[in-house]
Symmetry: D3
Subunit: 243 residues, 6 copies
Amino acid sequence: MKLLVVNPNTTASMTATIAAAARAVAARETEIVAVTSAMGPVSIEGFYDEAFAVPGVIHAIAEGETAGAQAAIIACFDDTGLDAARTSAAIPVIGICEAALVTAGQIAKRIGVVTTLARSVVPLEELVRRYGFAERARVTACDVPVLALEDESSDARGKLEDEIGRAVAGGAEAIVLGCAGMADLAAELTLRFGLPVVDGVAAAVKQAEALVALGLATSKRGAYASPSPKSYAGAMAPFAPRA
Amino acid sequence: MKLLVVNPNTTASMTATIAAAARAVAARETEIVAVTSAMGPVSIEGFYDEAFAVPGVIHAIAEGETAGAQAAIIACFDDTGLDAARTSAAIPVIGICEAALVTAGQIAKRIGVVTTLARSVVPLEELVRRYGFAERARVTACDVPVLALEDESSDARGKLEDEIGRAVAGGAEAIVLGCAGMADLAAELTLRFGLPVVDGVAAAVKQAEALVALGLATSKRGAYASPSPKSYAGAMAPFAPRA
Amino acid sequence: MKLLVVNPNTTASMTATIAAAARAVAARETEIVAVTSAMGPVSIEGFYDEAFAVPGVIHAIAEGETAGAQAAIIACFDDTGLDAARTSAAIPVIGICEAALVTAGQIAKRIGVVTTLARSVVPLEELVRRYGFAERARVTACDVPVLALEDESSDARGKLEDEIGRAVAGGAEAIVLGCAGMADLAAELTLRFGLPVVDGVAAAVKQAEALVALGLATSKRGAYASPSPKSYAGAMAPFAPRA
Amino acid sequence: MKLLVVNPNTTASMTATIAAAARAVAARETEIVAVTSAMGPVSIEGFYDEAFAVPGVIHAIAEGETAGAQAAIIACFDDTGLDAARTSAAIPVIGICEAALVTAGQIAKRIGVVTTLARSVVPLEELVRRYGFAERARVTACDVPVLALEDESSDARGKLEDEIGRAVAGGAEAIVLGCAGMADLAAELTLRFGLPVVDGVAAAVKQAEALVALGLATSKRGAYASPSPKSYAGAMAPFAPRA
Amino acid sequence: MKLLVVNPNTTASMTATIAAAARAVAARETEIVAVTSAMGPVSIEGFYDEAFAVPGVIHAIAEGETAGAQAAIIACFDDTGLDAARTSAAIPVIGICEAALVTAGQIAKRIGVVTTLARSVVPLEELVRRYGFAERARVTACDVPVLALEDESSDARGKLEDEIGRAVAGGAEAIVLGCAGMADLAAELTLRFGLPVVDGVAAAVKQAEALVALGLATSKRGAYASPSPKSYAGAMAPFAPRA
Amino acid sequence: MKLLVVNPNTTASMTATIAAAARAVAARETEIVAVTSAMGPVSIEGFYDEAFAVPGVIHAIAEGETAGAQAAIIACFDDTGLDAARTSAAIPVIGICEAALVTAGQIAKRIGVVTTLARSVVPLEELVRRYGFAERARVTACDVPVLALEDESSDARGKLEDEIGRAVAGGAEAIVLGCAGMADLAAELTLRFGLPVVDGVAAAVKQAEALVALGLATSKRGAYASPSPKSYAGAMAPFAPRA
């Protein structure tokens, strides 16, 4: 099974971190194809960056689908363009925020989601609400820019651990890492804090494998109906839905 | 006061309908500058079209702001790119769905939102929820494609009236027209049904004038903080936030 | 356009504060007619005072409507008698709590409502819920009696600023002033805290102008149907609905 | 134990119906003192009537408390003035809507509330929400004016039974009668429909006896704190809270 | 009237505490029959203990019903087996958590529920939600094992008072004691804290008396329909529903 | 990997159906060990049966864990004893209702859950709510007793298809089969209705494999903390938690 993992930001080093996390948990027969978005922001921090990361995500999934991928993962914690991708792709599309929450939700009642910057808290709270976890998950930020997670000389790791500590003290029974750039830390943090720490990239790999094995794809009735063929103007023309 | 009204789809005839509806209610000292998005879909029907309309909306608002607009309206009922636009623009940005709901909510308890196609019902229900009207507003579709609203030979008008009739029978005390392309029908439908029928374009003009008169602009703390300057790759490069 | 602003308490000096705030933002063609309720409490602090302020509000709106007002504002933050007034008045009726919330909601995601006394917190939370802001707005009290706001020798201003500071530290992106008696402070507090501070009186003036310009009045179907004509006994007889 | 039952409307024949229903279930040692409000509407149908029934309710409870009542019941299904009464009375105050819902909620999961006129549906839905039954109770109207319930020549009984039938077909496991004027019908309707039919007046008598026996009275901290002494002007002067 | 009070844990000394609390508030004509469950855990702390207390509760209620009880109370704060008991018993069944909340809800807006161990917080939050008090009640734990409440040499009482103090400081207007083992403390704590402290056992006695006096029993339509007769295997065979 | 699948009812033929459905989707390296509960009801229909199925489920999971199972599935759609099992087992425990919902939720926005009997609708609605799908999933019943699903001469299949048809007409985008006894029908129904039909048994197998592959087990902090060692009396003694 070929599984496409799209990094919605354009930072290739983060794609490498994500790919490694995906491969570490993939089934033997799963081939992970990790791609970096070809257009858009170097990191996604809040509503604005997210909007401009969507075309790159859609493009990468369309290309991956043509190349034979059987499912796709959007590996940014705001589930960039997930609803749009589900309408256009024939293969299942998984978001790492949704995957992390449904995974954590099967091993804990109260969940602490720790993300990077304060500006991402409300967008993630809106996702958490949409996925049905408003009463179970609390979102907080550790005040670390996304790319600082890649910089070993920063104090990112310490700040993240401090925030996890506060979440645990506040009643969290499991932690969800609120940024794909933290994907390499889950195992160590699980040991350190003595409770489950869930990385969305790894969780999404297993959800994707699950849907493929079950023979399930996105419903094309209602909200996820295929886009009607129509013309798109200007720079967006290449993305126009075809019959 | 200069008020920018952006039609997020690329259909100029619909921009004309929208501009007329806006001018019909604007204050004498308000100048309506209506623009058609330069890039993206000819009509917005569901999650996919919406995603590709966002860059054009952001671009148009940025240009309008440079040209002296004091507020901007996004004139598509899914409030295309509203959150992203609010982070990047210094001027207030109004969505017609939000404006219509808060207007209708001050004259009625139960609201019927009538939109075009079934695939838009869930996206609008998610907006309605986010704006706090989940318990007060019901979204239904009249099964008319957006551009058929422009086609006088279609049965669009009849289907819309039938659906409004069903909403009223089901307890709606006011109707919100769930598509900018219906902007010219509000007055007539109000008369015909004997209850308030609210068009979001007109409602948004007054909300925009209100914010400007109050000297209020989008908060730059938290969720709507200005995007951090960073580079964007590929086709999205022109949209990169600058310092 | 003639716009009636009713101060539901019987303190004329507060009516003057309110009237000034209303006039400061009214359109040139709007005439503000501010009246003090002729009956009821000198200040409204909690459920009991509110109940006895309603007849005065209804009476003032009925008189104002007869005298040609095209819309009415109820200028107390518990939106005293708003639902009752909407059934009996033919003109639109605006509550300052609802107006402030829908205004703040278009420029911020998370809102701090700062009111006077602790006993008003729950009544306002119930309003906030009813208006759909339960997930977005938090109500707190600065422990200042309403009339102390009028007393320059009190420490009211300091306590209010302290409470706003706490709300901002807790994540509020905009502040709503939870008492009509604070109407004169919005501009200064906006500057001081560097985020939008919304006064409900000013917000309500613009909402009222909006409804009038849009030709919208309260729906008379369902919850806001005109009261059935019937006799009222005793001291309430003058308020009996007529055919 | 002396238990005050206040009929918030001024129709004495309805007070008699209510008193009989109360006495039928009262404990042997409970004396029912039923009073008709001395001021306000002959029947309460919607927001407007309700507002003008409040002073009469408060007045009757204050008088009853002075005369030795140990608890008070507000016998109109919109729980007229309940919050205000709880702040001013030292004795517990019971609303028949709240009492009926908490009673029905202990014998059924899904509840059908059948009220009189369509205009009362939304006000009751707001109560149902406030009492925590939004997911369990549905409110519908049988289209019978309140006073028609007293008129044996009307078709009120038939219409009520039809509406109960619809509620049962729709999944209701118990019925709550949504008007004090239906208090005499609960027993017969229980037999006829083979499921519990709850009358709020009877339910409230038992809740009142319960609170008295438990030695519990309304908390005076927070929302129900006693009104601060202050002057009330005009027709409302007699209701001013005293120190 | 004969009222069965079942202690779902097997600790007879706690049954004595519960029986005393029940008798202290029962009507003169009510006979309290208190029984200790014959099977299951010595104390109920969290989901696991609760599951194994259910058969004993059902058994005790069936025996009590045969012996002439007219209503039954399940005297553990997680309302052990309440839904199952309501389907099988013909007599009304009362849970002390539900009874305490509906009682407290009629004398206060905001409620603090203080339970024993942290592991019980989430199970009780789920109950609080189901009973409609999610917005009004907060559950906290005082970190005292259930049986320590019986041990006078422990610091249980001090820890409980500390936690009540924190709840009051946080805005609670009434306190609900979140364990049947605290039933003897309500009166003293009411005095000490100057606000209503509600014990669920006492509250349940009055709710049970109320239902019996009203002639109301559990609806047998829908969720509480009598179990279909069928065979049960192994150790559960004695509990099989009979025709 | 050894995966235990427990049929909480005692009907071995249904265990065979469940085992076949589990094996059909299990990974090559997964060994499905399917067991029939040794004690409790032959079918689980509503709250009562569910309560008496829990001990058998817990017992089977404990035995399976000892025998080397790495995860356990509870294969009844009311997720019988799931919370209790999660506290006592060291291995992850999956419920088929939760697994089906989180699977369907990744391929559709609106979900129709079709269960057997009307009495199960409310219990399942409570689960749906707890899992966060209250706004997305509707539960209906096809009026077929559980064991009739095993009887080829019954009209069970026709009634189920009729109910699915109604759910689709009402806007469902995916169907969840609300009984483990329907596990063999998912593939055929998917073809027949042209939208995803999700069987919880199959979904749970993949969720269990996912958790094991991710190295995640139930959090032992808070709600799912291991039961405290204590003695259990009578028939429940064998289930007492040990140190």
